[in-house]
């Protein structure tokens, strides 16, 4: 048996080495002497003539967004700039942010894509991000970009409640996120836990909208109501679809992704009634890394993300809300201008994010 196994082992190894591309262990050489990429060279991204200036070399992208969602965007970018070689490291938003903080003295990445703005803001404050003002940024509302140009929002998401249509009848649907603490839903609600950026952002916004005490009561209410907290939203949407839970607190596109698998799920945009404060939104963001080796390609990539094509890809592939006005949402997605949106000052929310974590720890959110 052992002989057979070692033979198999050997042959697979040989086979694999034969079919793997040659350039496996690549030691990354700095491609340009370190300099801050602030020089306002005319970049390739003046939307009309994307491929005018040569953009080439290796572009290292760190992404807190999952690989499956970002890959189509990278493929489209490669089609425009075939000379750019893209290396992607996708992973947990916060873990990558921690790595970026620790590798600050020896930066490896050119671009960072986050799942929410607060990570970008934190990295910006720590000096990890380099300012860059894309010519396309002017179209964005002021609160969707950093005042110092270190980050820019890419897409928006709405915090919605999805439900299992087999288990919940339309007349008993919750209308507000505060209904989730109703004992009627005890043990029937799934949500992402305290390590999830979208939930952290929601709590931060709620502190401003409703005040510390109301938010604290809401969180304690969720815990008392035996809400199950998952590591991420993919688990939440699958559990709701499987009927393991009746309700799930998610970003809106998770509902659409689940619906695309023909699951019995529906969606509620909460807090839409008269006198209610509206649905809470958050945004994904991108920023260039200070000292990144290939700022030209990074800038071209950022411009591409904000271009109509990039924005359309996010809208089509992942049902997200484009930040650039005039780009339509995907069919079936409820447009944000038909929805009552929570009004909050993002800059203010960002400022006391630490207090949000104090609250999370105080109530003991899992």
């Amino acid at each position: 048996m052992f002989k057979t196994i070692s033979f198999l082992f050997l042959t697979t190894t040989l086979f694999l080495s034969a079919c793997a591309p040659v350039s496996t262990p690549q030691v990354r050489q700095p491609e340009a002497p370190a300099h801050t990429p602030t020089s306002p060279e005319p970049t390739a991204a003046l939307a009309e003539t994307p491929a005018a200036a040569p953009v080439s070399g290796r572009l290292v992208i760190y992404s807190g967004r999952s690989e499956a969602l970002i890959q189509p965007v990278l493929d489209a970018f490669r089609a425009l700039y075939p000379d750019v070689e893209i290396a992607l490291k996708a992973g947990s938003n916060s873990e990558i942010a921690n790595a970026l903080l620790e590798e600050q003295g020896n930066p490896q990445a050119d671009v960072f894509l986050t799942t929410e703005i607060f990570t970008a803001q934190k990295l910006s404050e720590s000096g990890v991000l380099a300012p860059y003002t894309s010519p396309l940024v002017d179209q964005l509302p002021a609160d969707l970009r950093s005042p110092d140009g270190t980050w820019v929002a890419l897409t928006r998401r709405a915090r919605v409640i999805m439900y299992n249509t087999d288990l919940v009848s339309p007349d008993e649907l919750p209308a507000s996120i505060f209904d989730l603490t109703d004992p009627k839903w005890k043990g029937q609600v799934a949500a992402a836990g305290s390590t999830n950026g979208s939930l952290q952002a929601q709590i931060a916004v709620m502190r401003q909208l409703y005040g510390e005490e109301v938010t604290e009561n809401w969180l304690s209410g969720l815990i008392a109501n035996q809400v199950t907290f998952f590591g991420g939203h993919t688990d939440v949407r699958k559990a709701v679809a499987a009927g393991e839970f009746k309700l799930g607190l998610v970003n809106h596109y998770y509902y659409h992704l689940q619906l695309a698998e023909s699951s019995p799920v529906g969606v509620i945009y909460p807090d839409q009634g008269e006198g209610q404060k509206g649905v809470i939104t958050n945004a994904t963001a991108a920023g260039l890394i200070r000292g990144g080796a290939n700022p030209r390609a990074a800038q071209a990539f950022l411009d591409f993300l904000l271009s109509p094509e990039g924005q359309r890809l996010f809208a089509e592939q992942n049902y997200e809300y484009p930040v650039v006005p005039g780009i339509p949402v995907r069919e079936g997605v409820r447009p944000l201008d038909e929805v009552r949106l929570a009004a909050f000052n993002l800059a203010e929310v960002v400022k006391d994010f630490d207090a949000t974590f104090d609250l999370i720890e105080k109530v003991g959110l899992p």
Binding site: S6, F357, E361, P366
Partner: protein
Amino acid sequence: MQVSLRPSAPSFSPRLAFAAGLVGLFVAVPLIYIFVRALGADPADWQRLLQTRLWTLLGNTLRLAAAVTAGTLVLGVGLAFLTERTDLPGRAFFRWALALPLAIPPYIGAIIHLALMRPRGGVLPQALESWLGYAVPLPSPLGFWGAAFVLTLFTYPYVYLLSGAAFRSLHASLEESARTLGRSPLQTFWQVTLPVLRPGLLAGALLVSLDILAEYGTVALLRYETFSSAIFVQLSGRYDRSAAAVLSGVLVTLAMLMLWGEVRAQGQARFTQMEGGWRPAAPVALGRWRLPALMGALAVSAASLFVPLGVLTAWSVQAFADADITAAVFRTGSQGFGNFALNSLWTALLAAVLAVLLSLPVALFARRSPGRFSHFLARLCQVGYAIPGVVIALSLVLLVNRFLPFLYGTPLVVVMAYVLRHMPQAVRASQSALSILSPTLEEAARTLGRTGAQTVLQVTLPLILPGLLAGGALVFLTSLKELPATLLLRPAGFDTLAVRVWMWATDGFYLQAAPAALFLVLISIAPLAFLLRREQMFR
């Protein structure tokens, strides 16, 4: 028949001490990081941390570690007894079937048990419900008991192998004498058999409980929060690496207590015997217990090996039946399946070689100059086991960037993390390989005029090589499975099989993840088979 090997006269070689010290310094890298970061913590931070769910989570971890350790001991010793000392049918088959689950990473096992058993959503509850027409409450793989169950299933082989070897080497005459002297079979077991098994059991239990301390991925999947979760909370959102370091310090302290406890419990007892007079003890006739024992062994090997392998195979077949999924499996972005399989192999292989090489000075030093310092070094090499992979990864990010910036961003940092995390296995293997080497051989070489280095190269190394290979195979096996540190440390665009499985599975693409997972398990079987072949019981 009990022969105690005479330790060689203590001799102190400064060069060896220096080399061992350097290795000690290397394995202390995460500890230094934790220390430095924890010192940088604001006193207000400490205050804040005390108000979090620290104690609850610490309690959770200890409960889980206790439950899994107990579970693995019962399962491991019980099954080893069945296959080594009874007339259980199909013993040769069960020896392999019960050891091979080591090739399945616990997180893959957890994903499979979840897919099958999760309440309402799982395959089994749904099939039963559609068949019977009503929902049947089944045991859930979630929560404390679920996590304890799954982790026990995929870690008991450590204890099984260690106690199996001990049962096997146990001299028949020991137990026979006890019986002749009037002890009942049960008394014989408690008073003679168990003490002889003790070193192996303690080593196995220690390995399992240290592993549980650092565990994050599997328990997160199974929705049970342990102390590692507290570390992750500090790292996410707050990006408070100081607070995370303070908390990791707690884990390190726990690990040191456990290691110290093991030393105390092992005591000075040494059980060695001459190969010559060995004959197997007479197998116990199971009688009417034969069938239940057979069913038990079958159930364990089904839950830990055959069902997972079957599910992975079924998923892989489904994946290959779908052209889109097949395309996705074989090409992701700029990378193909062959590329990340090769990455897995060469990083794990390099880590195995390095870990064994680095373990040698430490083991030699501990043997040649037994003393507080050398034993401290040998123990130090084992603390890495209890530190969560993420903390090891962050410590390497910081220290490599400060001192070896040219290495950072290369796969070699991933290899370093493997070596750091799996050093305990290499050190243990090297120590045990050295411990059975008779010192008279080395002394003879010295008497015949060989220098210290020549003796090591010409006499010691060739003799302990099989033991070293075993240590290397173990490091290779665990490095293939390593996930948290790889996720964080890999250069952009560098994936391994474990990383791919994880990325696809967390996005819910189980079919797509299955071929990679199956392949990972299959290539893990090779080093495992090598390890098992060395054991008396598998010959």
